[in-house]
């Protein structure tokens, strides 16, 4: 069921920048925060267990959840398919994190960031996304860099 967007009523966190697509700005901000997440995860995994890290990581994100609820004026989407995908995604993300923290125990830079290769394969098969030449080269270089950074 389609209903009018809540999105239009919500304030975007970043302004429009001419010549710089908004999706790219958001992606770079994601990269920034995950860089800090990886750094803190590395420090934390040296001190406590993977399960302990996961418990406090889950708790730590709860204020953000509250912020999102407020931004939505308490009108959280209940679209069945969207919600099912999101919850499943959370379960897979949390399981992946547990394995990530456990891998961090044994190796300084685990190769877990190779996961985009699987995502891209699934996006091509399931979502029928088309991949450009520059992007293929970028993906190959990204995988090579991740492997090198993990050595």
């Amino acid at each position: 069921m389609f209903e009018m967007s809540n999105r239009n009523k919500r304030r975007d966190l970043i302004p429009n920048v001419k010549g710089f697509p908004k999706w790219l700005l958001y992606a770079l901000l994601s990269l920034f925060w995950w860089g800090i997440f990886g750094f803190l995860g590395k420090i934390g995994s040296d001190r406590i267990s993977a399960a302990q890290m996961q418990i406090f990581l889950t708790i730590g994100a709860l204020p953000l959840v509250l912020g999102c609820i407020i931004r939505l004026d308490f009108k959280i989407a209940t679209h069945k398919l969207g919600v099912t995908y999101a919850i499943l995604m959370g379960v897979f993300a949390a399981l992946g994190l547990l394995a990530f923290f456990a891998a961090m125990k044994s190796l300084v830079g685990p190769v877990t960031s190779l996961y985009p290769a699987l995502t891209v394969a699934l996006a091509l098969i399931v979502l029928k996304e088309k991949v450009g030449k520059a992007q293929i080269l970028g993906l190959i270089l990204a995988i090579a860099s991740i492997v090198i950074l993990s050595l």
Partner: protein, 148 residues
């Protein structure tokens, strides 16, 4: 097989599937709603984690690091969902944001005094070039309206 290899493969498979689900869910609901519902998925595992862990050996510093890590992880996730919501392809945004170990390594150099080997500097340079190449790709579509 070494333990870290098993854990790494498990993480790659889980996060690979997660990347696809990220795009699928942002086709239907907004970044804010996705963050709310995906954390429900995290909470599903919490009783099991609490039942199998001892928390009495943790100090305030450990708790602070774990909690701050959760905030950074949540912010990173929200911005990725916003990127996908604003039309980014999964096959572009997911590999681009997965370059975050680049920043992790730089932070480790700055704050932990780690010194990358020449090969790792090559990895950093490749990551920058890869990021530029992947970000040249046009987005897939306009953002989606929230479906309640």
């Amino acid at each position: 097989m070494a333990e870290w290899v098993t854990f790494s493969i498990a993480a790659v498979v889980c996060w690979g599937i997660m990347g696809l689900l990220q795009k699928l869910t942002t086709n239907y609901i907004s970044a804010d709603s996705v963050l709310i519902w995906d954390r429900v998925g995290y909470l599903v595992l919490l009783p099991w984690l609490l039942g199998t862990s001892h928390l009495n050996n943790m100090g305030p510093g450990d708790i602070l690091i774990g909690t701050l890590d959760g905030i950074a992880n949540g912010l990173g996730a929200w911005f990725l969902y916003a990127s996908l919501e604003n039309g980014a392809k999964a096959s572009v945004a997911v590999p681009l944001t997965a370059l975050y170990p680049l920043l992790t390594v730089l932070l480790a150099v700055l704050f932990l005094g780690e010194k990358p080997r020449p090969l790792q500097w090559l990895g950093i340079a490749l990551a920058v070039v890869a990021g530029v190449l992947m970000s040249r790709e046009a987005p897939a579509a306009k953002h989606v309206d929230e479906k309640l």
